[in-house]
């Protein structure tokens, strides 16, 4: 699965969890750019992403992502 496909699938997860159909994710997208992506939804997003991609992040990774690109890198590294 390439990065663009990962980001596409992440977008669908974000739309479902945050309940906002207008969300578009890019490599540079941060929590400040997405209305509704806060510390509450972050945990829900992590759980949904882990379930969807069938993987398990460690705490350091979860608290270390600066943007969607870094999250996608983490996923790509696990499912490669």
């Amino acid at each position: 699965m390439d990065r663009s496909e990962i980001i596409h699938q992440l977008t669908n997860i974000f739309i479902d969890i945050i309940d906002n159909g207008d969300i578009s994710l890019y490599n540079e997208t941060t929590a400040n750019d997405v209305d509704g992506w806060d510390s509450l939804t972050h945990i829900q997003l992590v759980v949904a992403i882990e379930k969807h991609f069938k993987l398990r992040f460690n705490s350091k990774e979860i608290q270390g992502w600066k943007n969607i690109g870094e999250l996608a890198d983490s996923i790509a590294g696990r499912i490669a």
Partner: protein, 484 residues
């Protein structure tokens, strides 16, 4: 030495003149010396506690960074965190724990042995918490966590690090700064920037206005009514409770504006602490906009790790993290059941709002935005006011008396001993509300404070100054949050 005193004004004037007279690379020394002087001004001996925290944190951070084996780094990390938390707990809660032990012993003696002689707990030494101990330890703990996570380098200059923790504009009640935001500013060359100084002075003036004209005026009414709740009607109590929300906001955000203004004059940008919280449409939104530096600190270092650790519980991990965080946050305010109830009430409403997000969103789509906003703001202020009854009361029974009277009292009329006090209270709340609404909804239309015309801009600040001189309460005492 409080910000509204003449002594502080003189102190700051001398520091600012000396600061810009010194070469840039030596200015931090003046900041450190003046911060130590400021810290020692009330109880000099407490500098020893602050110094201990600084030394432990400074050297532990370097050891954590240098440690090649993660177990070794972990040992230094745990030791430094334990030392910081231990000092905070001892300073803030030793009186509570020791008096609780005495109360329990007395209770047991009475019940088990029918001994009515009361042991006097005045035998115990009362610990007076050092100035700003919470803020120093929070910043130190945050710094250690970031070093441990590898997000920040360990500062190698003890003087710079000490200045970070002791910087006098923020030491008493924050903002809770982050090392990665503050330390680089110490290295920057700060030229005398007239525009920045004017912005700083404007912030100080607005902070003074909020504190002296709004908060301390409201305080007169609030104290008169809530301090004697049994003798007041439900309407008076409701008015006082609502006034207390505005008093608390004007007091704390007024202090923060002044802290940011003083720092700005010295060329430093501190974190924003408030973002018009009283216009929040939900309590969840409120906590994103109220005491931001502390709530983000708790979100980053407490709530998120808790929720992540228990994420297999699904949504219950968030509920667990909410309650634990807000109970700890409540207990941080003071060792009293009232603060625990205050924290629990926040955890409760955040949980309810979390589980009803989608339902509320669907309802919002069907109702005009204006009504939505009004209902949301009214509910948020009302709920916060209710929880503040516990926050302000000396005991749970005192708080319950107020709540019971609000809901059951049939007495009519509102307490107005002096009509001018009531008028000033209403004027203050209206003025603050208009300024906040204007910034929130109509900021692009017109501005007095940043108007391009010199006369309008400075006329506005002259008006604020005149109102402060005419209507300010100059013996209103300390800021509410200094005690925490």
């Amino acid at each position: 030495m409080i910000f509204t005193s003449i002594v502080f004004a003189l102190f700051f004037l001398i520091v600012a003149i000396l600061y810009y007279s010194l070469p840039c690379k030596h200015r931090w020394i003046l900041l450190l010396v003046s911060s130590i002087f400021f810290y020692m001004y009330s109880i000099p001996a407490y500098i020893l506690v602050a110094s201990f925290i600084i030394l432990i944190t400074f050297y532990a951070a370097i050891k954590i960074e240098k440690a090649k084996v993660s177990e070794k780094a972990m040992q230094f990390y745990i030791a430094a965190i334990t030392a910081n938390v231990g000092i905070l707990v001892f300073c803030k809660y030793s009186n509570f724990f020791s008096s609780s032990v005495f109360d329990s012993i007395n209770f047991a003696r009475q019940k088990l042995f029918h001994n009515t002689e009361i042991w006097n707990n005045t035998l115990l030494i009362k610990v007076v918490a050092p100035l700003g101990i919470s803020y120093i330890t929070f910043q130190a703990i945050g710094y250690l966590i970031e070093i441990k996570r590898g997000n920040h380098y360990a500062e190698k200059n003890l003087g710079h690090f000490s200045t970070f923790l002791l910087f006098f504009p923020k030491i008493i009640a924050g903002p809770v700064e982050r090392a990665h935001h503050f330390l680089p500013q110490l290295q920057q060359i700060k030229k005398f920037d007239f525009d920045k100084i004017i912005i700083g002075l404007q912030q100080i003036l607005w902070g003074l206005f909020k504190k002296l004209v709004i908060a301390d005026r409201l305080s007169i009414y609030v104290s008169a009514v809530l301090g004697n709740a049994e003798n007041h009607s439900a309407i008076s109590l409701i008015a006082a409770v609502i006034f207390y929300v505005f008093q608390m906001y004007a007091d704390f955000s007024g202090y923060t504006d002044m802290a940011l203004g003083f720092a700005k004059i010295l060329g430093f940008d501190l974190m924003q602490n408030f973002n018009r919280p009283l216009l929040s449409k939900s309590v969840t939104e409120f906590w994103r906009k109220w005491h931001i530096s502390l709530s983000t600190w708790f979100a980053d270092y407490f709530y998120t790790p808790l929720a992540i650790a228990k994420r297999d519980w699904g949504n219950w991990s968030i509920v667990y993290a909410f309650f634990t965080t807000f109970i700890v946050l409540g207990f941080w305010h003071g060792a009293n059941w009232t603060f625990l109830i205050f924290g629990t009430l926040q955890g409760l409403i955040l949980t309810i709002e979390f589980f009803t997000r989608k339902i509320r969103k669907n309802i919002r789509k069907k109702v005009p935005m204006f009504l939505n906003n009004m209902a949301g703001i009214t509910f948020t202020i009302g709920y916060f006011a209710l929880s503040l009854i516990f926050f302000r009361a000396n005991s749970v029974s005192d708080a319950l008396i107020i709540i019971k009277k609000i809901f059951t009292s049939r007495e009519s009329g509102i307490y107005i001993e002096n009509p001018s006090i009531m008028l000033f209270c209403i004027f203050g709340i209206l003025f603050l509300s208009i300024v906040e609404c204007k910034k929130e909804y109509f900021n692009h239309l017109f501005t007095f404070s940043n108007n391009k015309y010199w006369l309008i801009r400075n006329g506005y600040y002259c008006l604020l100054l005149m109102i402060i001189l005419i209507a300010g309460v100059f013996d209103g005492g300390e800021f509410i949050y200094f005690q925490f």
